[in-house]
Symmetry: D2
Subunit: 467 residues, 4 copies
C-alpha cells in the first residue's frame, strides 16, 4: 500500500507560471498527502524558479502538509517511480500561438481562444501530438502504473495520443470549464427559486467533448433545474448574465463573457452548452456568433488576443522572480480546481464524481468507441469509472458528432503525418465554413509556414509546398 505521506509526483511542464502555482497552493492546503514533486521543463530555468517558489509555499505557515520540490534534468528522472504525472505544457511559444489565433483573421475567421478547434486548434494539435507521443512512450517505459493528469490543450487530442500510444495508460484530462456552467446553474436556482447552493451540491449530467461539453440534466434534490431555464432566460437572455456579477466585464476583460451564447444555444437546442461562451462558439459555423467584431460585441464576449497573453506573461515572469527571491510575499489560496481532490479519491481517501476526458467506452451512446469524450466519472480506490451519460437530443448530438469526427479524424491525420489529410479536416472545421478551398489552402499553408519551426521534424512540409 502506498504511503500517502511520501508520494512522488512528476510535473511535466514544471516551469509553468500559472497552473503549477495553483496546484502548489492546493497541495499545500490539503492535509492528507505529503511527498516530493519533481519539476521537469524544457525551460530548466523556469523549473528552478518554481522549485524555489514551491519550497517557499511548502514552508509557509499556513501550509498543512509537507512537500518538497525538486528539479529533474531529464524526463526519465522525473517519471521514475512517480505515483502521479501532471502534464501542463505550452506546445510552441506565443509566436506560434499568434499565428494560430490571428492569421485566420485575415480571412475573416475570428477565434476567441484558438487552442482547441478551428484553424488554430488544428495547427496547435500538429505541434502537440508528436510531443505527447513521446510522453506516452516514456510513461509506458518508465512508470506504466502512474496516474497521468493532463491539463494541456487541445485536451482531447492530448488524451487521445496518450491512449493510442499506450492503451493501458491510466490517464485522464481535467478541465474546469464545466464548473463555471455548474455555477451558472446554481445562479439559476438562486434567481428563480431563491435556493442558494454550491455547485457540488447539485448533480449535472455532463456530456460532449472538451470545450464543447453540454449539460442536459441538472437536479438539486428532486428539482429539475433545466426546467427553470425558460424563466431565467425571460429575464436574462437579452442582457446576459454573469456569475461573477459584472455582465459587462467582457468589455475590458478578454476572458469574460455574459453567457448569452450559452443561453441562445439552450433556446435553439434545448440543452446547455457547458463551457465558456468563448469556447462554445469555436465549434460552430463562423458566421453564427463570430461573423465580425460587431456580432461578437452583440453576443457579449471577447476575443483574447495573443498580445494580451504576452503582456500578462511578462507580468507573471516578473512576479515569479519576485516570489522566488522573496521580494514578493507568498499568499496561500485554495483554487476551485479539483486535481488535488481527484488524486485523493484515487488514493482511496474519498469517493468523488467529476467531469473528465476519457476514451468513450459507451458512456456516451451513439458516439464512436475510443473517441475522447468528456463526461462524469467516479474516482475512488485506485479506480476511475465512467458514468453513463446517455445521448444528447438528436440535434445537439449532431453538433457534437460533427466536431468529434473532426477531432478524431485530425488525430489520425496527424498520426499519419499526412498534410493532405490534415487539410481535409482543416477545411471541414465549422470555423472554416465560409472559406473557399483555395483560400483555405492558402491559409493552411501560411499557418504551417509560420509555425514550421515546430513542425519541420515531423511533417514533409517542403514536399507539401511543392505539390
Amino acid at each position: 500500500m502506498k504511503d500517502i505521506k511520501n508520494l512522488k509526483l512528476a510535473y511535466i511542464g514544471g516551469g509553468s507560471k500559472q497552473w503549477a502555482r495553483i496546484f502548489m497552493n492546493d497541495l499545500a492546503l490539503d492535509e492528507d498527502m505529503c511527498g516530493t514533486i519533481y519539476l521537469y521543463d524544457i525551460d530548466n530555468e523556469a523549473a528552478k524558479l518554481n522549485k524555489e517558489i514551491g519550497n517557499k509555499i511548502a514552508s509557509h505557515k499556513d501550509c498543512k502538509s509537507k512537500w518538497k520540490y525538486e528539479v529533474s534534468k531529464t524526463i526519465d528522472e522525473a517519471l521514475m517511480g512517480a505515483d502521479f504525472v501532471i502534464i501542463s505544457i505550452l506546445p510552441g511559444t506565443f509566436k506560434e500561438m499568434h499565428s494560430d489565433v490571428h492569421e485566420p483573421e485575415k480571412y475573416g475567421i475570428y477565434q476567441p481562444v484558438g487552442d482547441t478547434t478551428g484553424p488554430g486548434g488544428v495547427l496547435r494539435a500538429m505541434r502537440t501530438v508528436p510531443i505527447y507521443e513521446y510522453f506516452a512512450k516514456k510513461i509506458k517505459e518508465i512508470c506504466p502504473e502512474s496516474y497521468v493528469i493532463n491539463f494541456t490543450n487541445p485536451m482531447a487530442i492530448c488524451v487521445k495520443t496518450l491512449y493510442d500510444v499506450f492503451p493501458e495508460i491510466k490517464a485522464f484530462g481535467c478541465c474546469h470549464e464545466v464548473f463555471n456552467t455548474q455555477d451558472f446553474l446554481c445562479a439559476v436556482l438562486k434567481e428563480t427559486l431563491n435556493i442558494e447552493v454550491k455547485r457540488r451540491e447539485i448533480y449535472t449530467n455532463v456530456i460532449g467533448i472538451n470545450h464543447f461539453t453540454w449539460i442536459d440534466k441538472a437536479t438539486y434534490k428532486d428539482i429539475n433545474i433545466m426546467s427553470l431555464l425558460d424563466e431565467f432566460l425571460d429575464r436574462y437572455y437579452e442582457s446576459g448574465y454573469s456569475v461573477k456579477g459584472d455582465v459587462d466585464a467582457y468589455k475590458t476583460n478578454p476572458f469574460a463573457y455574459s453567457n448569452r451564447v450559452k443561453m441562445d444555444l439552450y433556446k435553439r437546442y434545448g440543452a446547455l452548452g457547458a463551457a465558456g461562451d468563448r469556447h462554445l462558439v469555436e465549434f460552430l459555423n463562423n458566421n453564427w456568433y463570430l461573423k465580425d467584431k460587431k456580432k461578437i460585441e452583440e453576443w457579449k464576449f471577447n476575443l483574447t488576443s495573443v498580445d494580451f497573453r504576452i503582456n500578462r506573461m511578462e507580468q507573471r515572469i516578473k512576479d515569479t522572480i519576485e516570489l522566488a527571491n522573496g521580494t514578493k510575499e507568498i499568499e496561500l489560496k485554495q483554487s476551485s480546481e479539483e486535481a488535488v481532490d481527484l488524486m485523493k479519491a484515487i488514493l482511496g481517501l474519498s469517493t468523488m464524481v467529476s467531469n473528465v476526458n476519457l476514451p468513450n467506452v459507451g458512456q456516451i451512446k451513439d458516439l464512436p468507441k475510443g473517441a475522447i469524450v468528456e463526461t462524469n466519472a467516479l474516482f475512488t480506490h485506485n479506480q476511475i469509472v465512467p458514468l453513463y451519460a446517455g445521448k444528447l437530443n438528436d440535434e445537439a448530438h449532431n453538433l457534437v458528432l460533427r466536431n468529434l469526427i473532426n477531432q478524431e479524424g485530425l488525430y489520425e491525420a496527424i498520426k499519419a503525418r499526412d498534410l493532405n489529410k490534415i487539410f481535409n479536416i482543416f477545411v471541414n472545421q465549422p470555423l472554416c465554413s465560409t472559406l473557399t478551398i483555395k483560400d483555405a489552402k492558402e491559409l493552411f499553408k501560411s499557418m504551417v509556414f509560420n509555425t514550421q519551426k515546430y513542425l519541420g521534424d515531423y511533417y514533409s512540409i517542403f514536399s507539401y509546398y511543392n505539390q
Copy 2:
C-alpha cells in the same frame, strides 16, 4: 405462385410525363412479364392521357408482351392486389420548386438541382413526408405484401418515411446516378488500358447516401480500376471528361457536367463520388464548388433553372397530347433504367445485383442502423438482400456521415412537424455554411411562406411566424 403473365402493377403518379413513359417502354420491350397497370394520379386527366399512350405502346408492333393500362380513380383501387407499386410523384408544383431552387440564390446559395438536400431539399422534404406517410399507411392497409419501388426525390426521405410508418414494407428506392459513374469507370478502363466493356461487366462497390453515393472499389476481372484513375486524371482533370463525348455540353445543356467535381473529390478524398457533379456539390460547403456563377463555370457544370424545367414540361405536355391522340407516332426504345430487370429478378426470373436505397442493417459499417443508405443489393426469388459495402476511408466517410445525420434528423423533425427543429437542420446544411443565423431564419421563413399552400395542413406555420 404468381402468374407472371398476369401481374398487377399500381403506378402512383401515373400522370407522369417522363418516368412513366420510360417505364412503359421498358415493360413493352421485355418479353417475360404481362399484366395490367393501374395509373393513379391526383391529376386524373394526366393519368388518362398516359393510359391512352400506354395502350398504344402495348399494341405497338415491336411490343413483346401484353400490358393493359387502366386509370384508377382512387389510390385504394390502384393498390388493391398490386404485385408491384411504383411511386413517382412531384410533391407540389413548379411554383414550389421555383422557390426551393431560386429563393436561396438571394442569399448567394446556388443549387443545381435543389430537390434532395440543401435549403431546397429541406422544403421539398417538408411537402413530401406527409404524402408518403399517407402512401405508407395505404400500402400497409391494402397491399402489405407488394413490392414498392420509389423514384421520387428526396429519395432517402421518401424511403425513410415508408419504412418508419410501415417497417415490414418491401420498399426500395431506385436511382440511375450510379450508372453514369459506372459508365465513367468503363471510360477510364478504355482510355487507360484500351479495354472496352459495358457497366454491367464491371463490379463496383457502391456506398453512401442517395445522390452523395461513392465508389471506393471497382474491378474488372482482377484489374483494380481505381488504380487507373491517377493516370486518367493526369489527362482529364483540367479539361474535364464527358462519357457522352461533348465535354462542353454543360454550356448549353443544364443537365450536363464534365466530371471535374467528381475527379476533384477523388483527388482530395481518394474515393469517387458516384453521382452527377450537379448532385455531389449540393452536399458540400457552398463556397467549395458553388460560390458564384464564375466558379460553377470553372468546374464545368450547370445550374438547372426551374424556368427551363417549365419550358421542357410544356413541350412534354404537347408531346403527350399528340402521342395520346395519335398525331405523333410512338417509338419503342429501351432505356438504361433497371426497374423492369429488378422486378423480374424479384419474380425469380434472374439473379441481379444493383444499387438501391434501403435502411441500413449494417451494409455500411459505422453508420446508424435504420438510416437510409445506398449500396448494392442482390435481387432474386422474392428477396432483396443487401451486400456488405464496408466503410469509406475516414475522411470521405465523415462527409457522408455529416449529411446522413442531417438527412435522418430532417426526417425526425418533419415527422414531429416541429419547425424549430427543421430550422436547426436547415441551418446545418453544408449549402447554408455561409449564412448567419438571422439570414438563415429569414430565408427559411420566406421559403415556408412561398410554399405554404402545401404545408399549411401539416405545420403550425402561423404560430411559428409569431414566435
Copy 3:
C-alpha cells in the same frame, strides 16, 4: 420540491412477514425522512397486521422519525401520489414453490433455491410476469414519476417486465447477495494483510446478472484485493470459509454455505462469483456442483427445502400476530439492507454507489442492450446513473452470456405466452443439462400441471397438453 418530512410510500406485498418488517425498522432508525406508508396486499389481513406492527414500530421510543402506516384496499389507492413504490411479493404460494423446487428432484435436478433460474426459476417466472405486467400498467397510469424498488424474485425477469411494459419507468432491483461477497473480500483483506475494514470502505466492480453476479476488480486504497485471493485460497479452499464464523453451519442451516463454490469458480475462471454459493450453482451445468447430495455435501452448502420454509413461515405468522397484538415486544434493529439509504440518495440527501438491476445501456460491454444486468450505479439527486463495468474475462463472460440469453429469451417467450418457446428455454437451462428431451418435456408438463392454478388465466395449458 418534495417535502421529505411528508413522503408517500406504496408497499405492494405489504403483508410480507420478512422484507416489510426489515424495511419498517430501517425507516424508523433513519432520522431524515418521514411520511406515510400504504400497505397493499392481496392478503388484506396480513397487510392489516403489518399496519399494526408498523405503527407500533413508529411509536417505539428508539424511533427517530415519524411514519404512519395505512392499509390500501386497492392497488390504485396505494399508488396514487406515491413517491416510492416498494414491490416484494410471493408469486403463488408455498405449494407452487414446492413444485418448483422439488419436482425436478425426481429427475435428479437439485435446486438449493429454485426461484431465479433452472426449472424452478422458469415456472416461477411464468407466474410472475403476468402480475408484473399488471403492476407496470398501473404504475404507468397512476404514478409514472414514482421510483419503483423491486425485491421480488426472479429479480431480472421482474425488472425486465416493468421496463418492457413501461420503458420510462424509474425502477430498479435491489439484492443483497453482493454485500456478502464484499464482506468476504473484507475477510480476505483481514486474513492476508490484517487490514480490517467494512464493505463500504472498499470498491468492487460488480458485473453480471442477478444471483450470477461477479466481482472482477476489488480495491482498497491502492491495494488490489483480487491479487490476495490466491494466498487466501491456499488456506481456505479445502476447508471453506464463512464470513460469519462457523464454516460448518451449512450442516444445519439450510441457507448457509462455506464459499467453496465461489473459491472454485475463482480458481477456474479468475473472477469471483458474487452471490451465495446456493445461487451460483444454479447457473451452471447440474453435474458440476449439484450432481447428488453427496456432491453438495462436499461443496459444503445446503439445499433449502420448501418444508423448511413452510415451518419458518408458521413461526413468523405466530410472531406477527404477537407483535401486532403487543404480546411480543418490538425491538428496533438496523439491517444491512440499503433500500432506505438509496431512497435518501435519490432524494438528494447523499450520493451513494450500490449494485442494482437495470436494463443494460452499455454498463456491461458486449452484452445485449436492454437486457437486465446487475452492476454498480450512482444514486443522487433524483438520478440513478449506471457506472461502466466493462466486461468479464472471456470465459466468465460466456458463462454469464449463456444465462443471460436464457433469461431474456424466457421473458420473450412468457410475454408471448408461448409454451413451446418456454419449453425451448426450459430445456436449455444449465440445470437441465442432463435431461433428455423426453424427460424434460415430462418434467415441464408436470410442473405446469402442479402450478396451473396460477397459469391457467394466461397460458393455453389445455391445448398444449393435447399437442
Copy 4:
C-alpha cells in the same frame, strides 16, 4: 490482368486421397482455366502419386483444359506466385482421430464425426491451430495477394487462425453441407407442389456457423418453401426422408442420415438445420440426440467409426497406386463441389452466390464481429462480398450463439496455449453436458495424453499434468 490460361495453384495437403482427386476432376472438366498445380504435402510420396494421377487426368480424352501437376518439396515453392492456395489437410493421423472420436465414448459421449466441435473438435483444433498459424505466416510472407480456399476441419477455427494471423488475407472456407440441405428443400418442393428444380434454382438464406448452419428463408420464385415444411413433416417426420432415396441407408452407411434430426429441429425451433444430421447433433446437449446407441438408431443416423475410415483409406491408397501406375483407369466425373466455379467467379468470368465461412462483418446480426460465420457471399471480379443474412429467430439464434462463443473462446485459448482455458471451453461443450468436472478433467487429460505427439511442441503438457 491475369492470364487465365496460365494460372498457378498451390495445393497444401496435395497428397490428399479424396478432395484433391475431386478437385482435379472438376478442373479438368472446366474449359475456361488452365495452368499449373503445385502439390505440397508433408507426405511427399502421396503428393508424387497425386502428381501422376493429376497428369493422367489432364491428358484424359475428356479433359477440356490444360493443367500440369508438379510436386513442391517446400511450402515456399508451392506458394510462390500462387493465384490460388487450396488447403485440405489432416491434422495428425487416424490414431489421433481415433482418440478424438472414441475416447469420449468411455464417458458416454458419442460423436458421429468428432472433427468440428465437442471433445473431439477441441482436441483436433489444438493440433490444427499451430499448423494454420504457420500457413498464415507463410502466405503473408510469400503470396499475400493469393486467394486461399480452406477445406480442412475444424473449418471455422482454421479460417479464424488465418485471419487472426494475417487480417488482410483473402481466405474463405468452403463446405458442401449446405448443398445437401438445399437438395432437401428441392425435394420438399417436389413432394408438396410437384415442382422439380435444382438447388441452384432456389434461393436460401444461409446463416450460422460451419456444420451448425441454418436456413430460415427459402424461396423459389415467389413461393416460400419454408411454409411447405409442415405438410412435408406430416408425411416424413416419423419415417425420415433421404434425398438420395434410401431412408434406411444409415443402417449400413456410416455417413448416411434420414433428416429426422433436421426435421425435429425445425419442429422445435422453426428454422431448418442446414448440415447433415450427424453434424447438427454435435452442437447440442449430448442427451438430446446422442444419449446412447438406441437413441441414435431411433433418430436414424449413424456414427462414423474411425476404424471404418481406416479401412476406407486403405482401399483408397490401393486405388491411388493403381490409378497412378495406370492399372486402374481414370474416369472423369464432375462433382457437386463449387470450388472451381468460385475460382472462376473470382477471376471475373461469372457472378455467383454461395455459402462461405468468413469473419462476421455484420452479415449476421447480433453475433460478435470477427467471429467466423457461414452465410452467403457474392463472388465476382476479384471480390467476395458477404450478403446480409439477418438474424435467426431468438431461440435458434441462441443455440448458435452458445456454440459460437465456445468456438471463438476455443481459438483464443489455443492461441494462448493455455490448457486451463481450453479445458474451460471443453467442459462447456454441449456434448459434455452430462460430465462432472472431475470426469471432464480426466477425459480431457486422456485425450491430450493420447495425442501428445502433435501437441508437445506447443503446449506445456507436462506442467499441466503436474498441476
